[in-house]
């Protein structure tokens, strides 16, 4: 296992170094992909080996940076789960990247891109392996920085720089909060190793514990993309190369969940009921607002980014319910809720990775992300369309794919809460159920739009009309994830029991988790509900085949003729007559008008001679999310005002700067003096 771990490190390191040293861009693409595939595969191997052998992995290098207890890697079940998640998405994304980044040949440095991708994957794989605070923060920061550079790949695009700035600001704000949380935690600990923090956390005062938890929620929440800290997602995801978006959306934001679980569940060992309630509320708000904004998007990748906000919200609902049930002492319910949350995180990694890769193929073929300029791609690129359809079905939570299973489990994990007798739990859970259902329905609507407008009907631009299928490496990458979506759905029973062991032993959860299923059926605690994803899938396949055969051989007429689309007999049909993505979302935009508050701008040019002849009509309607309008806009404005004011002290003279330094030093010393006295 240690060997595999070293292989993982070596793979990524090879990828990074070889990419930098490679003679041409083409070689760089291939060697970096090779390194990443080896590394990702080995990472997945480490995680699987861990689950098979149940031996913890310990690799410590205390000599390095010994001041802060050195580098230490300790893999436990929780970490192994997230390591597996990284590996699962890393391999197909790297394969995909080998073909995808060909479009960048000669435009941007592929050596740099390859090296950064490998470093990004390396640091991402090591975050869940970290065994002490220093290692964790180093890897966390490495992950943030490398992903920042990856986002900044496409610098020709005007939006990229701004996206990078938003991302950098949010991620570093988050890092500061995480750092503060760890500092508070480490106050009474002997070393910063997680094991020591765990024992020290038990002695902390409730107020400190609450503060640590809140800081962790905010810090990790900004990485995970919880509303209102999600603002960087819809900016950075579209700007990054698509396989990087897939990694960021599929994996990196999940590490925010990992961080929260590590601190809240493992180190702090759970807390009062309001922790869980807070997480549920944040999750519910993120879920419903995320999907609502996703519905309004015309940019395919922004739509996917908002949908990531939604899915992270769903994960947080599960995790929050787990915290809540823990505090109420309902252990089986807590296990169910937490595993449902984790399972959804895993599933989301698979299908969102797949969808981003699919969106990448669309971008690759048509050079546009605007759905109002796409359409009809199912003919030019049948494979990408099929894969995107599988991803859409999975994310809409439809049987028999994996999204359906985890959504079902989330529903079932909220149900015991409605039966709870604690004061606010029942109403909270009732609302959460309503929101979960609404989110599911709206997500289905959103992905009918995403798939239907992008891939079906008549192409809305010549780029879409002449779209070509992606190269094989990209198709293989998507294919792996599509199979993963199917497999994760069908193998729900073994996966759920494995997830039980991931959580076992943390925060009062028993070491032997109650089995959530046997045979082919998932069974929730107290046999509240039973469901067999495998048999549902089997039933669907058998019945579909039966219906097809029945119609084929029952003597029904077989005639088939191809004609024009029926359009009330009009002469010709053009793409301009089709429903667009904006039109598709219009009813929901009207329904939720009070939330969106769209701005409307109508200008009509009349003919100079008569008002009865119109020359042109221009209609513009925009939606600015209110989080940005009412929260970020004032903050940014204030920061800018302060920045202008602070410019006064910028004289440009070295003497002035030295003076500031001396004053600051004297000030600090004075404080020390005063405190010493």
């Amino acid at each position: 296992m240690t060997l595999l771990f070293l292989l993982m490190l070596a793979g990524y390191a090879f990828g990074a170094v070889a990419a930098v040293l490679s003679p041409t861009d083409g070689v760089a693409r291939r060697v970096s992909a090779l390194g990443a595939v080896v590394g990702g595969g080995a990472g997945l191997g480490v995680a699987l080996a861990f689950f098979a052998l149940q031996v913890p992995l310990v690799v410590e290098v205390p000599a390095l940076l010994s001041v802060a207890d050195g580098l230490a890697f300790r893999l436990d079940a929780l970490g192994a789960f997230f390591l597996a998640l990284v590996g699962l998405v890393a391999v197909p994304c790297s394969l995909y990247g080998a073909g995808y980044s060909e479009a960048y040949d000669g435009r941007y440095s592929l050596r740099f891109l390859g090296a950064m991708l490998n470093l990004f994957l390396l640091t991402m794989s090591l975050v869940p392996c970290a065994g002490n605070v220093l290692t964790f923060l180093l890897m966390w920061e490495g992950m943030s920085l490398t992903s920042y550079f990856l986002v900044m790949t496409d610098t020709d695009e005007p939006d990229t720089i701004q996206a990078g700035a938003w991302y950098l600001a949010m991620t570093h704000g988050g890092l500061a909060l995480v750092l503060a949380a760890f500092l508070l935690l480490a106050g009474g600990a002997a070393t910063t190793a997680f094991a020591d923090l765990r024992t020290a956390a038990a002695t902390l005062s409730p107020a400190t514990r609450n503060a640590v938890f809140l800081l962790a929620v905010l810090g990790f929440g900004s990485k995970a993309g919880l509303i209102p800290l999600h603002v960087w997602l819809p900016r950075a995801h579209p700007a990054a190369p698509s396989h990087v978006s897939a990694l960021m959306s599929g994996v990196m934001i999940k590490l925010g969940v990992y961080g929260l679980l590590r601190v809240g569940l493992d180190l702090l060992g759970g807390g009062p009921a309001w922790w869980g309630a807070l997480l549920i509320v944040l999750g519910a708000v993120s879920a419903v607002l995320g999907v609502l904004y996703a519905l309004m998007e015309n940019d395919l990748k922004r739509l996917l980014a908002y949908s990531s906000v939604e899915n992270i919200g769903l994960v947080f609902i599960g995790v929050g319910a787990g915290f809540l049930f823990l505090s109420l002492g309902a252990i089986p319910a807590a296990t169910l809720a937490l595993s449902a949350g984790l399972y959804h995180a895993l599933n989301h990694a698979a299908f969102k990775g797949l969808l981003f890769l699919g969106a990448g193929s669309v971008l690759h073929a048509t050079h546009t992300r605007d759905m109002n300029r796409l359409g009809g791609l199912i003919r030019g690129m049948p494979w990408s369309a099929l894969f995107f359809l599988i991803g859409s079905l999975a994310i809409a939570g439809l049987p028999p794919l994996n999204g359906f299973v985890s959504e079902w489990l989330l529903f079932q994990s909220l149900l015991p809460g409605i039966g709870s007798s604690a004061t606010l739990v029942a109403p909270l859970m009732t609302l959460a159920v309503g929101i979960l259902a609404l989110t599911g329905g709206l997500a289905a609507a959103g992905f009918v739009k995403a798939f239907g407008i992008t891939f079906l009907a008549i192409p809305r631009s010549s780029a879409a009309e002449h779209a070509h299928e992606s190269p094989r490496s990209m198709r293989v990458g998507m294919g792996i994830l599509a199979v993963a979506c199917l497999g994760l759905g069908l193998a729900a029973v073994p996966i759920m029991s494995a997830l039980g062991t991931v959580l076992a032993g943390h925060a009062g959860l028993p070491a032997a988790a109650p089995p959530l299923g046997g045979g082919l059926s998932l069974t929730t605690p107290g046999t509240f509900a039973r469901m067999s994803p495998t048999l549902v899938a089997l039933g669907l396949v058998v019945v579909t085949a039966g219906v097809w055969l029945g119609v084929r051989f029952s003597g029904a007429a077989r005639g088939l003729r191809v004609g024009d689309t029926w359009g009330c007999g009009r002469i010709a049909q053009t793409a301009r007559m089709e429903y667009t993505s904006t039109a598709f979302a219009e009813p929901l935009r009207r329904v939720f008008a009070e939330l969106y508050r769209p701005t409307k701008d109508l200008s009509i040019d009349f003919h100079p001679d008569s008002r009865y002849f119109v020359q042109s009509i221009e209609y513009r309607s925009e939606i600015v999310p209110w989080v940005e309008r009412y929260l970020y806009a004032p903050v940014i404005e204030r920061v800018e005002r302060w920045a202008v004011r602070a410019r006064a002290i910028q004289s440009g003279s070295a003497h002035a700067y030295l003076t500031y330094l001396v004053i600051a030093l004297l000030g600090l010393l004075t404080i020390l003096l005063v405190r010493g006295a």
């Binding site: 009732t430 009907a457 107290g526 549902v536 191809v562 039109a583």
Partner: protein, 313 residues
């Protein structure tokens, strides 16, 4: 073995009975309009005719357009295996609960909407957009109504819900039950495209929801879709009938009880069909943008159902 035979019978019964339900509603509506009306079995003739006709497909349509009718039909047929039409407990009860039924139906809606978008007709897009809007907004009501039932029964599995109401007849009159029934009834109207949400007999493209999506379909494909819509209606009727008023559902699997179950199912379906027919005669179609208001009424009903079920605990 008996169980599996029962499952097959049930599915066959649902397939066979469904067009009749549509015919029954049409006949009753005709009578309420003082017309003689088509006989109840008219939909069977129509389906038979459609299966004998040629299919005309748009030149813009992709394979999805050909696949969708089969998926739509298969999703509702799969759902009939899980719904207690005649008896409980079914051998397939452990395969899926009420939520699975709901999501199977959503799968059908999803594919039908995609098929509506596929030929590039503006009507299809309009229908797809509206159908998904209605489906999405109906979803919270369905979930809460299910949970109001599940809270009482201690399970979301259909067999157990039925069994529990059978053993405690008083619970059928509990407010949670009644309110959830009201909520699900509204959802039934919305999901199966009945008035006041959608007019199944409309010829005006601009007011259509379900019809607009299937304007492009013809021949056997249309037959599958119409048949699936009828089965969906029957599924909702048997859920309304058997979950809320379970008497008559066979629990012993003897021929006598099964016969009683079949008769009681017929009675329930006739009563519900009559209710729908009377309602459709009485009320006009709502404007599309008042539909969300109707659905929020059903949502509040479902919320009240859940609230009163934990009030009485």
């Amino acid at each position: 073995m008996v169980g599996y035979a029962l499952e097959a019978t049930q599915a066959a019964l649902a397939l066979g009975l469904a067009p009749g339900v549509v015919g029954l509603i049409r006949w009753m509506k005709a009578r309420l309009q003082n017309r003689r009306g088509a006989p109840v079995w008219q939909p069977y003739w129509e389906l038979a005719k459609l299966f004998q006709k040629e299919v005309v497909v748009s030149n813009n349509a992709s394979w999805l357009f050909h696949a969708a009718p089969f998926v739509v039909f298969a999703s509702v047929v799969t759902a009939t295996f899980l719904v207690p039409v005649l008896a409980v407990p079914l051998p397939f009860d452990g395969i899926g609960d009420l939520l699975v039924v709901v999501y199977l139906l959503l799968l059908g809606t999803f594919f039908l909407s995609l098929a509506g978008l596929d030929p590039g007709s503006p009507f299809g897009g309009m229908g797809a957009s509206r159908e998904m809007t209605v489906a999405a907004l109906a979803e919270p009501t369905v979930a809460l109504a299910i949970f109001a039932l599940a809270l009482g029964a201690g399970s979301t599995n259909l067999g157990q819900i039925v069994a529990r109401t059978m053993t405690q007849p008083g619970s059928a009159l509990s407010p949670g039950h009644l309110l959830a029934f009201g909520a699900l009834f509204i959802v039934t109207l919305a999901e199966t495209g009945r008035l006041p949400v959608d007019n199944p007999a409309t010829h005006l493209e601009l007011t259509m929801i379900h019809e607009a999506m299937v304007l492009e379909y013809s021949g056997r494909y249309l037959a599958l879709i119409e048949w699936a819509a009828a089965i969906k209606l029957l599924i909702f009727f048997s859920l309304l009938g058997n979950l809320f008023i379970p008497w008559g559902v066979s629990m012993a699997l003897t021929p006598a009880t099964l016969a009683i179950a079949a008769v009681s199912l017929l009675v329930k379906v006739v009563v519900l069909a009559a209710a729908v027919a009377v309602l459709e005669t009485r009320i006009a179609k709502l404007r599309l943008f008042r539909v969300p208001e109707l659905l929020s009424v059903s949502f509040v009903l479902a919320l009240l159902a859940v609230t009163s079920s934990f009030l009485l605990r």
